[in-house]
């Protein structure tokens, strides 16, 4: 597939990535949801699963309704018990290709650090995103986002999507 070289389009892709991480760093689940198209999907899995062709990973929101429900989990269901952490993202674009149907296929590396309530900071996960991005009413959105972690065993439980 042809690599996208249009600087304006690449900047729009980067802005979508930024909107995604910006929302999660502020525990703004509605902002996270707003980066997805409807229909849209989100999957969090690991490289180990990809290698062994295993379908059950760490999170699987395979329809827009599931994305909505994940917002409910974080905002309502879990809030009383979990120890929230502050996520901080470092992402950089590996490649960005235009698909024949006009969708954008992007691959982006991600490192996610977290700071717990005790003020100590650690690396949470490392991996990459495998995205299909579409234009909806003049905005870029994720039609599907698959986060594939190199990290098979995170050092604590995950509350938010990666």
């Amino acid at each position: 597939m042809p690599q996208i070289t249009d600087a304006t389009l690449l900047a729009r892709v980067d802005n979508l990535q930024r909107a995604y991480t910006h929302a999660l760093e502020r525990r703004n689940m509605e902002g996270w949801l707003a980066t997805f198209d409807n229909p849209g999907s989100y999957e969090l899995t690991t490289q180990e699963h990809v290698k062994h062709n295993l379908p059950v990973g760490m999170m699987l929101d395979d329809c827009y309704e599931r994305l909505l429900d994940r917002c409910t989990y974080v905002n309502e269901v879990w809030n009383h018990a979990v120890e929230h952490y502050q996520p901080r993202y470092q992402v950089y674009r590996n490649f960005c290709e235009m698909q024949p149907d006009g969708a954008i296929h992007a691959d982006t590396n991600v490192s996610l650090f977290y700071t717990g309530p005790d003020g100590h900071s650690h690396l949470l996960v490392v991996g990459h995103y495998h995205d299909n991005i579409v234009e909806v009413d003049g905005e870029l959105k994720f039609r599907s986002r698959k986060a594939i972690l190199d990290t098979a065993v995170p050092p604590r439980y995950l509350i938010y999507p990666v």
């Binding site: 379908p55 699987l60 599931r66 269901v77 018990a81 050092p155």
Partner: protein, 389 residues
């Protein structure tokens, strides 16, 4: 304000239902647990047949702190061996799951087949005169298969699986689909819990309707089934069944909590020392645990379906398994939070964890109600004696 329950320390521990905090933090206690429990008379699950279904498949796994290789070597034939070259102790296999007919040591090139027999010992012409390759096979660990799970023990005195599990066996067998229908591996969720391994075991399973908000929101309250504690160290199982979910509108996608194909069996099992298995709705998981010192525990949740599942139920199991009952599950994430919050609290001196609910009706804890704490007390009674505390 005085606590109604006075603190005690380890030296004066007399009541096994009141467990001193230091049992969950002391490095010396942890070392003793490795010797007396993990390398003692307990069976440990090391693999599911579904993880290594073909002859030639292998898995690496840690029991206690011992690195092991589990190999599938023939029809219903499995070996568990130390993952250490018999020459100079180098770890032979690094991959979590793999396929190999032999293992070659990267250090001096010794070669072992997947039953552990040594076939190549490079330079043996200059070894000591009484050297025989046949004396240098990999160290074999006693292995058995029960209900499609491969179990291993370091202790020749460990009783048979039937005696080991006792009356806790039926619920575990039910969690695995009855034991005969071939299981299929769907995936894993692996996690580090920042807690002692016994905190992980103390605080899961019995409390479904108490802790989990999602159970209440979805009207999945339990609490009426018997909790049966039995076997070596006090395993316990709850075989409580479930009722079909009636959509109350809380979820946008209620299909995620549907029970399909009339699989109403629901069970929770704690197998001592460090294993759990849960079947709820159409999700089946088997959890392998390993201690990472006294204050951390790594758990691998293996998710399962059946080899003869049709596409529809297979997809349904995948969706439920990925989202409901794991360390970040919709229903179960509070477990993860509670494990770690208990560990933070038990570093204080002279505190105790107290098991109280249900003891009025079940002083020995062997038969109690689902949400009772009494079911954990046979374990603590056994632990206290086994550890000489």
């Amino acid at each position: 304000m005085n606590s109604p329950i006075s603190p005690i320390d380890l030296q004066n521990w007399s009541d096994h239902t009141r467990v001193p905090f230091s049992v969950y933090t002391d490095p010396d206690i942890y070392r003793m647990e490795l010797e007396r429990i993990f390398y003692g008379p307990f069976w440990h699950p090391v693999a599911l047949i579904a993880e290594i279904p073909e002859i030639g498949d292998y898995k690496t796994v840690t029991v206690g702190e011992a690195s092991l290789i589990v190999t599938h070597t023939g029809e219903n034939e499995f070996h568990t061996m130390l993952n250490a070259c018999s020459h100079r102790g180098v770890e032979l296999a690094c991959e979590f799951l793999g396929k190999a007919t032999d293992f070659t040591c990267p250090y001096h090139g010794w070669v072992f087949d997947n039953k552990g027999t040594c076939h190549v010992a490079n330079g043996e012409e200059r070894f000591r005169t009484d050297f025989k390759k046949s004396d240098f096979g990999l160290t074999q660990i006693r292995t058995t298969v029960w209900s499609q799970v491969i179990w291993a023990t370091f202790d020749p005195a460990t009783p048979s699986m039937e005696t080991f599990l006792g009356d806790a066996a039926p619920a575990l067998r039910n969690a695995l689909g009855g034991g005969e229908r071939p299981l299929k591996l769907l995936g894993y969720q692996k996690i580090t819990f920042n807690c002692n391994w016994k905190i992980y075991m103390d605080n899961d399973g019995y409390h479904a309707g108490l802790l989990h908000t999602a159970f209440r929101l979805l009207d999945f309250q339990g609490g009426t089934a018997d909790q049966i504690s039995d076997g070596t160290g006090g395993h316990w199982g709850i075989d409580y069944g479930t009722k079909p979910y009636e959509d109350n509108g809380y979820l946008n996608d209620a299909s995620i909590v549907e029970t399909r194909n009339d699989e109403l069996t629901a069970t929770v099992n704690l197998i001592r020392p460090l294993c759990q298995s849960v079947k709820h709705l159409n999700s089946i998981n088997f959890r392998f645990g390993k201690p990472l010192g006294p204050t951390q525990t790594e758990v691998h949740y293996a998710y399962l379906g059946f080899a003869d599942d049709d596409e529809a139920i297979n997809n349904h199991r995948i969706r439920q398994s990925a989202n409901l009952l794991g360390p970040s599950g919709f229903v179960s994430i509070e477990d993860s939070a509670v494990f770690e919050r208990v560990q933070k609290a038990v570093s204080a001196p002279n505190g105790t964890i107290n098991f109280v609910k249900g003891l009025a009706d079940s002083p020995d804890g062997k038969r109690c109600m689902q949400n009772d704490e009494a079911g954990s007390t046979p374990w603590w009674n056994d632990y206290k004696q086994r550890m000489g505390l």
